[in-house]
């Protein structure tokens, strides 16, 4: 039983970690908390809906492509017109983009959830070391781990990765030293698009259905995770995701049935308490923060 919960915590936490890293990418480079990343999840899910279940092998790459395409469109309109605007304006603009894309989805597909049949092949369980583990949980964890490793490799060992990290550290300084600002911003949008697509694919496989506002709740949990872990640190963001997932599962297991319905209330109370102690995020060195 115990192992089952750990697997749950790792899969739920892994999804939050992906979302958190996606948000931290664009925040690091462009100071943008992109709420419309939730709608990148949604567009990739609808791409799956159009292809699945027969053409699932086409659906997955198509979903990634569509999500990246939308991410690039966003980076042009409206965000390239908002360069230099303050964080609140960017946040509200991304909310506008998110609303617009939801509206388009409602206009095209209607507001009701649609079943996809995608992921039914992986809903079975497999026996590993005498434990029954959901295949989808394994796939989710594998994808998350692979993505985080690839991203770490990319950011540490390639020139483009170093540009991104330098821009996240000090945008103006990086530009002065010859980092192409536009290219770095575009790359961060592409990466966040890939991440959102993977999250969208995994979420669609979990729930089996798609709907216009399906990206909102996951994205906000990703936002909580990234701020919990530390907006200015990618490893911190990922750790924040796993922490939030772990807490969610731990509360589900530990709370007595009478107050189990208040799980999320307790979870978010803990989030507030943590933020009070570490406003800059748990995994950010306090020396890295501005002081008064």
């Amino acid at each position: 039983m115990g192992v089952q919960y750990i697997i749950d915590a790792l899969t739920v936490g892994g999804l939050y970690a992906l979302l958190a890293v996606g948000l931290a990418m664009t925040f690091g480079v462009a100071r943008l908390i992109n709420l419309a990343q939730g709608e990148l999840i949604m567009v990739s899910a609808y791409t799956i809906y159009l292809f699945a279940p027969e053409l699932w092998y086409l659906a997955i790459p198509a979903a990634v492509c569509v999500s990246v395409l939308f991410a690039l469109l966003m980076s042009w309109m409206p965000f390239s017109f908002l360069r230099g605007a303050d964080e609140t304006t960017l946040l509200v603009a991304s909310f506008g983009v998110s609303l617009a894309l939801q509206g388009v989805a409602v206009a095209i597909f209607g507001s009701r959830p649609k079943g996809t049949g995608f992921g039914s092949d992986v809903s079975s369980s497999v026996e590993i070391l005498g434990l029954s583990v959901s295949l989808l949980a394994l796939i989710t964890f594998g994808v998350v781990l692979l993505m985080l490793l690839l991203l770490t490799f990319f950011l540490r060992n390639t020139a483009a990765g170093v540009w991104i990290r330098a821009s996240a550290e000090d945008y103006v300084m990086a530009q002065m030293l010859g980092v192409r600002a536009q290219r770095v911003v575009t790359m961060s949008f592409v990466i966040s698009g890939v991440i959102a697509a993977l999250t969208g694919i995994l979420l669609t496989a979990r729930s089996g259905s798609v709907m216009p506002e399906m990206g909102v709740q996951p994205l906000l949990l990703g936002l909580v995770a990234v701020v919990l872990g530390g907006l200015r640190s990618l490893p911190g963001a990922a750790a924040g995701g796993f922490l939030l997932g772990g807490l969610t599962v731990a509360l589900t297991v530990l709370l007595p049935p009478g107050i189990a319905v208040y799980r999320d209330a307790i979870l978010f109370t803990i989030v507030i308490l943590v933020l009070l102690v570490r406003p800059g995020g748990i995994f950010v060195r306090s020396s890295a923060l501005e002081r008064v």
């Binding site: 304006t89 701020v227 209330a265 008064v292």
Partner: protein, 374 residues
């Protein structure tokens, strides 16, 4: 021609100019629009929209700290206002979980609104005791967490309902004058607050927190006060809003409301009361206009079919377009200030008229030139 106004009257006029113009503008627009048949209900909703945006402005605008959580206080107002407005005869049946003393308590509209405001202020102050220490994204996420907590409580608290949190049977009886009084009260409160010592200190901390702290501003304390007042004003809006829909539904007071009022404030320009009113009015016009088009399938003689969702797209497109044109909001943090002839004292002008006012600013330059000539 010279206008003789006593210095005292002039001071009063200058001080009251911004809220005065805003109140007259809002009232005129509301009353004129409500002359149009069948538009009264929309005008009430629009006025409440303005009320809610001004309410969030009291905290967010003055402190510069984002809050997603104000929908929670709107909910406090709506639930209190809604439940107390249900006639006692039906209340025991519609809200069976209520304690006995609340089952028969029916103070009437305005006392109910006052109670809602006071309760929200107390809750807001208590919540702000810890939250006021946070700024930036930490504050945004903490208030988002607050909103999520409030939603769980509304849905699951069995005092309110047996599951789902939906309560019906609230009389739909708020008229344009009532909504106008609510909006006016909140606008005046917001103006008095931003001119008060607390408001000025808070705005100083918004503009430069380090500098404000260094001259002794206790930022958390000022934020707590603003948060409490802002929560109270939000509850006033909520207590009136519930009368326009007649049903209490938890999801009405969740993310979309929390985001849309914040977005309206930023669109209007979050640094000024005028910006808040303009943002609220713009949202009201867009929202009501789109709903009209969607319901009736056209404007006046033009008929066209609008698929669901397109209204949202248009509203969102306008929001984004305004932000691109004006990243700091429509008003860019400015107020409608009193005209020059009123705000500059007559005594220092040669003829007491505004046309000569610029000469006061030019005077030093002339002196400088004449000095250099010598």
């Amino acid at each position: 021609m010279s206008i003789n106004i006593s210095a005292r009257l002039r001071a009063v006029l200058v001080a009251a100019w911004t809220p005065g113009v805003l109140l007259v503008g809002v009232a005129l627009a509301a009353l004129l629009l409500s002359l149009v048949p069948k538009l009264a209900g929309d005008v009430v909703q629009g006025l409440i929209m303005v009320t809610l945006v001004v309410a969030i402005y009291i905290f967010v605008g003055n402190s510069g700290v984002i809050s997603f959580g104000h929908a929670a206080f709107i909910a406090v107002g709506a639930y209190l206002g809604g439940i107390l407005a249900i006639p006692p005869m039906q209340r025991a049946f519609l809200v069976p979980g209520l304690p006995d003393w609340l089952k028969s308590f029916a103070p009437g509209l305005w006392p109910t609104v006052m109670i809602a405001a006071i309760v929200a202020a107390v809750v807001g102050y208590i919540v702000a005791l810890p939250l006021a220490r946070l700024g930036g994204m930490a504050a945004a996420v903490a208030t988002l967490a607050l909103l999520m907590i409030s939603q769980v409580v509304l849905v699951h608290w069995d005092v309110l309902s047996k599951g789902g949190g939906t309560i019906s049977g609230i009389p739909v009886d708020v008229t344009v004058p009532i909504a106008l009084v609510g909006a006016a009260a909140v606008i005046v409160a917001a103006w008095l607050f931003q001119r008060s010592p607390t408001g000025v200190r808070l705005r100083a901390s918004r503009d430069d927190q380090v500098a404000a702290r260094s001259v002794g501003v206790k930022v958390s304390r000022e934020r707590r006060r603003a948060f409490a007042l802002s929560a109270a004003a939000s509850a006033v809006g909520g207590a009136l809003y519930v009368h326009t829909v007649g049903v209490l539904t938890p999801s009405d007071y969740y993310l979309s409301l929390g985001f849309i009022i914040l977005a309206s404030l930023v669109i209007g320009g979050m640094g000024s009361l005028t910006g808040a009113v303009v943002g609220g009015a713009l949202l009201a016009v867009l929202d009501v206009g789109m709903r009209r088009i969607q319901v009736s399938g056209g404007i006046g003689p033009w008929e066209f079919a609008v698929p669901n969702g397109i209204a949202t797209v248009i509203i969102a497109a306008v929001l984004v377009f305004v932000l691109i044109r004006r990243p700091a909001g429509i008003m860019r943090g400015r107020e409608i200030s009193a005209p020059g002839w009123l705000s500059t004292p007559t005594s220092i002008r040669p003829d007491g008229l505004g046309a000569e006012a610029p000469s006061i600013q030019e005077a030093p330059v002339e002196t400088k030139e004449s000095l250099s000539n010598v």
